[in-house]
Symmetry: C2
Subunit: 327 residues, 2 copies
């Protein structure tokens, strides 16, 4: 008995078609050092090389590309201080529609600047700032959406977003062949739900594992309890996984298609980030290191297996990155 899930393999395949020539087909990379250390044959999917620096572009563009002409005219609204903000702003620009991004006043300056950069010259586009201690961003968003007729695209709990994110795993399997295991970071579950659907469709029998920060293991708890668990905003350097709960659409997919969720500590994330800089010459943001850290730091033993690992992004403030590299 299989419950109806929000997306099917066909949705991921359709998203791949929409993204062709727009998203980068990011490279899959290997490392002899990683293979020796883990005893596995490991393929990293480099979404840190994706447009705007993270997989989020896939889901955002796929969702906006499906807007009706009326939706396009009015445009899109999103709340985010992270990669989703830039993904929506860039996708809206490419599709010629206005975007409003609701961001906290104290969001990092480079993220504000990048988002505004994508909105530059697009009529009706703006960043709306709010005070996260005194104002309710959802109320602000709902008000603007209603006033301007804009469509809200949430960061993960949306079928088109999930299907778009799944194209990362689809490309990986198309490029390197079937996998025994696939490791994916988990925030709200958009990436892992899309990737799980894609992987089970293209590589039957694959074991999909989620990886969360130790401090924010809400999905691990949710799987144990069989229902969505809410937690306080976790303290972790993996800022893309500081979610308090998974989604109404993502959790059922995770429950059905994900074998389990592993956790790693911030210390293990930093060690993995250093490994990527030193040995693979890549900048991977803390959240992007989650899946790799589980394997490299021994949270799971996949000896003898063909393993895919999604590196979800590379957007980290340069000063923070430099400090973390220094250890």
């Amino acid at each position: 008995m299989t419950a109806e899930l929000a997306i099917t393999f066909a949705d991921v395949a359709a998203a791949a078609h929409r993204l062709r020539g727009v998203a980068h087909r990011t490279p899959a990379r290997t490392s002899r050092t990683v293979d020796e250390r883990t005893g596995a044959s490991v393929h990293f999917k480099c979404e840190n090389f994706q447009r705007m620096g993270a997989f989020k572009f896939r889901g955002a563009y796929n969702a906006l590309a499906r807007f009706t002409p009326e939706q396009r005219r009015a445009g899109v609204i999103a709340f985010s201080s992270g990669n989703h903000a830039q993904a929506i702003a860039l996708s809206a620009r490419l599709l010629g529609m206005p975007s409003v991004i609701v961001m906290p006043k104290d969001a990092p300056a480079p993220k504000l600047a990048a988002t505004r950069g994508y909105q530059h010259g697009m009529a009706g586009s703006e960043v709306v700032l709010y005070d996260r201690y005194t104002e309710d961003r959802e109320a602000i968003g709902r008000r603007i959406a209603a006033e301007r007729g804009m469509t809200l695209i949430p960061p993960y709990d949306h079928a088109d977003v999930m299907a778009g994110q799944g194209t990362a795993a689809l490309e990986l399997i198309e490029d390197v062949g079937p996998l025994d295991a696939l490791l994916v970071c988990v925030g709200g579950g958009g990436l892992i739900s899309g990737c799980a659907v894609a992987a089970h469709g293209r590589s039957p029998g694959v074991a999909v594992w989620g990886v969360e920060p130790e401090a924010g293991n809400d999905v691990q708890q949710s799987l144990a309890r069989g229902e969505i668990v809410h937690i306080d905003t976790p303290q972790t350097i993996a800022d893309g996984a500081q979610t308090q709960h998974s989604g109404q659409l993502t959790f059922p997919v995770i429950r059905q298609l994900v074998k389990g969720v592993l956790t790693v500590s911030d210390v293990q994330l930093v060690s993995t980030m250093r490994f990527f800089a030193e040995r693979m010459k890549m900048v991977v943001e803390p959240t992007g290191c989650l899946a790799a850290a589980a394997l490299l730091e021994g949270a799971i033993d996949l000896r003898g297996q063909r393993v895919g690992v999604i590196l979800s992004g590379g957007n980290v403030d340069l000063a923070v990155y430099a400090r973390l590299l220094q250890g």
Copy 2:
């Protein structure tokens, strides 16, 4: 009237054949930001993703693969504190021959460790340390070579090394198509001479430009004078280009096939290194940034052209790298 050069296009093609399945065919990457900023269509050849982290593996392996059975039995000797040391040690390991690397006592610990790592378990292999203030490394090398019958492979002034390095440009042009211009960093001239031969063979009419650190422009001076100029060891963060002069074999190739040599400052190198980390999510060592810096920092205007840029390596001590990123 064309003087006989040390290598021909056929030598580069033969090297490519030897390196197939041994060296990585490194990716060519593009960046919309770079194209917008320069007005050109730019293709980066990512030798920072090469085995042992730099193009040097190509030349070293090509040279050692051509040893006679007797030469292989006795093994190879090299002097280097940099990427050439690791390239020779790794190539010797892969070909099953002993290697002796003569390195200064005060060489960075990670480089010593990496070189010894490649020599581990290979009978007759060792790092020989010398005091760079009181001892003559060439005398030490000659003595060991004579005693043990080993073949010395210099870092750049050797036809097989030059031909091997040229495979980087050959692959780039095969992968992205003909180029109007190719920018290559210049130390002793091994990389640029091989690349110039490859590029003129595969992309007739291409303009090949060399790029040196401002503080160490011996090849720029040599081209102006029409003969090899010797300079003091330059003070620059581009440690792979701290050469005092080009070679007897490399300079004639440069003179005939390279259009000119540009220079960039250390400040421009750091700015370029930061650009690669922030926007392209790649670790590129200072020397590896030379060619890109000339384009990104405006030392040359290649608007409207199809441009290849060799990123020569990514081996930089993590603490140094972090300090440079912090600016």
